[in-house]
């Protein structure tokens, strides 16, 4: 009885220690990402005028309007870290339509809140009545994202370029890599092992080191600054990866399954498409995922090989440069950059689990 208790206590201790360690490690990974996400939702004011930062961004902002003498108005914002009203926007406000328009834009750009000119006029009227007027505005959570794409011109187009490049990369590298992987899995030929190893060698060249030849060759091919050229470069890297993945997948599918299909009425090609291909889908999905993630995230080659048609990561990278970098906007760009890869991974998670999760196909 006591023995049992002691054993249970020991077990609990062990598990607790493990969980603490694991969650510690998870925190190290998750917190920076979480803060990045949190920043991407913060307004300019929250980012630069409040310290320490709250764990979660605000969803609404409190404003107060009162008189500043001479019949003029003054707008304050509730500063969470100071726990006080702080001046926000121009000191002296009057009913001049230009100034009201400016204020409305200011509230939008620096507070991420929507407050129309008529609403400002109404607020002024109410301030005249009571001496002051306090109001809360819902903060727009996608404002920074919109702003990022507006501010960094070509960002939206670069997303399309990126998607196009990723699509081409998937198509080229999965089809060629898959075919080569099938050959490596099914046929015996001279120098097979050397060849299989040597496909990895192309990965060892640092892109910066071979930048000039790449630019020259792509230029001669008329593919410089084009998604096709970029996807060719990416495919070189990705094909070798896909060969190794698909070769192991095809090796795991017994050849006799294809032979049976041939005996029972299909051609050799038919057997591949009716039997081997459906069974290899998890592996091909994994290849597609890796190709997509690699192509979507790659920066160095893209910086070298594009000029007027950058991919999205290049735009995000360029937004980091320069003195006028705005942290909350960059955070929005970064999250926008990370999101598709995450969504894509979730989308084909099922197949990856089938392959490596012990779920037998």
């Amino acid at each position: 009885m006591t023995n049992n208790l002691r054993r249970n206590a020991g077990r609990t201790m062990r598990m607790t220690t493990i969980y603490i360690l694991v969650s510690g490690v998870a925190m190290i990974i998750i917190f920076p990402m979480f803060f990045l996400f949190s920043f991407s939702l913060m307004s300019d004011y929250e980012t630069y005028s409040e310290w320490p930062k709250p764990l979660l961004p605000r969803t609404s902002v409190d404003y107060r309007m009162d008189h500043s003498g001479n019949g003029n108005f003054r707008l304050s914002i509730w500063n969470v870290s100071e726990n006080d009203w702080m001046p926000f926007g121009p000191e002296e406000l009057n009913r001049n339509p230009d100034e009201i328009k400016k204020l409305s834009r200011f509230l939008n750009n620096y507070g991420n809140t929507q407050f129309s000119e008529e609403e400002i006029l109404t607020a002024m009227k109410l301030t005249d009545q009571d001496g002051f007027y306090e109001f809360a505005l819902r903060k727009s959570l996608i404002h920074n994202y919109r702003r990022f794409f507006k501010l960094y011109s070509g960002a939206a187009r670069s997303v399309l370029q990126s998607l196009y490049t990723a699509g081409m990369t998937i198509f080229i590298s999965v089809s060629i890599g898959g075919m080569a992987g099938y050959a490596f899995a099914r046929y015996v030929f001279k120098g097979k092992n050397i060849l299989k190893l040597s496909v990895l060698f192309v990965r060892m060249f640092p892109p910066v080191a071979i930048a000039i030849p790449m630019v020259v060759i792509l230029g001669k091919m008329g593919m410089y600054d084009k998604p096709v050229g970029l996807s060719l470069i990416y495919s070189i890297n990705q094909i070798s990866m896909n060969i190794w993945i698909t070769a192991s997948i095809f090796m795991g599918i017994p050849e006799s399954l294809e032979e049976a299909a041939q005996v029972f009425g299909t051609s050799k090609t038919g057997a591949f498409f009716r039997v081997t291909m459906p069974l290899a889908v998890p592996g091909l999905a994994a290849c597609a995922m890796y190709s997509f993630i690699y192509s979507w995230n790659e920066v160095i080659n893209a910086v070298i090989l594009t000029q007027f048609n950058p991919t999205f990561p290049v735009v995000v990278y360029k937004s980091l440069l320069g003195a006028n970098a705005q942290v909350h906007l960059i955070a929005a760009g970064s999250i926008a950059q990370a999101l598709p890869a995450i969504i894509f991974t979730l989308f084909i998670r099922k197949y990856i689990l089938q392959m490596w999760g012990g779920v037998k196909v």
């Binding site: 006799s256 041939q262 029972f264 051609s267 069974l279």
Partner: protein, 371 residues
Amino acid sequence: MTSENNKERSMPVLTLTNLAKRYNRKVWGVRKMDLEVEDKEFVVFLGPSGCGKTTCMRMIAGLEVTTRGSIILHGKDITDLPPRNRDISMVFQNYAIWPHMTVYENIAFALKLQKKSRSEIDRTVKEVAAMVKIDQLLSRIPGQMSGGQQQRVALARALAVKPKLFLMDEPLSNLDAKLRVVMRTELKAIHQRTGATSIFVTHDQSEAMSMADRIVIMKDGEIVQVGTPDDVYFRSADMFVAGFIGTPPTNFFPVEMKTAGEKVELSHPRFAILISGSDADRLKNNGQNSLILGVRPEEIKVVPEKDSLLSVEVMVVEPQGSFQIVAVEIEGEIVKIVVGSAGKIQPGERLHLSFVEERLHFFNAETTKRI
């Protein structure tokens, strides 16, 4: 009219002529195969691993390109046809049922490709599924099934196409020993019911003996003997067959022959035996003096001392239930004897032995061929 019918019936379904397979211009898989398979016959290719039996079957199926020779099925040369145009079906050693299809889809696969009507497919699938007793499993995925059930699916799939020739490549070797014996009986029953001409590859001689109409024994890519189970057992063509067929296999004794009038005397360092009648004539005609005497384990009898040929000390006894295998040592060779289970024999005991004279086998010492 009747004579013509008879003639047609006696025409072979499958003819292999001078069939050979060489890999990479180096290794011979099959050196030379000449064989005729009759309608509704159950032929077993038997041999040790690497003897070319599976290669030969794969050539018949079209999964292996032939190096030389021809394959004729129902009067049509199919040597170079792709597998799907050959009118054959096959059961694979590792079942090879498609894991991404249900049992029903597996069985219906070939029928769908033949563009059969849906009702016809349904009828055929249910019919063959009932034949191999898997009609309860039709909606299952192969991954959830036992090896025996998977083998039944493979069998049903092969039966569904109603082929001209039914090939089975060691279909029972992945099953456990008990199930193998059950399936053996069922396979034979199915063959008797469908009457499909079948070729069955195995390395298990007891499987071959129990199922075959004719056994084709192969060694090093060539046919050693073709015959009924009785042929290969009682009239083994050479020492390889005699040593391969039967558990335990034939015991061999090198002997010297001496003519003694009508009879011949075969002498071994431990015994001498007189042979008379047709056996003696054959031996005399053969002319060679050194030969090998082959005696099957059950043809060595334990007899009273006065009738015995030789006496030996028992080395090991292996009880088998209905009989026991006694191993003794004669001139450095282990000789196995099958004795009835009545009367327990102990190691170290002395046994007095004699041979059943009319069932002795004689082999040429050099060519190992039967005399």
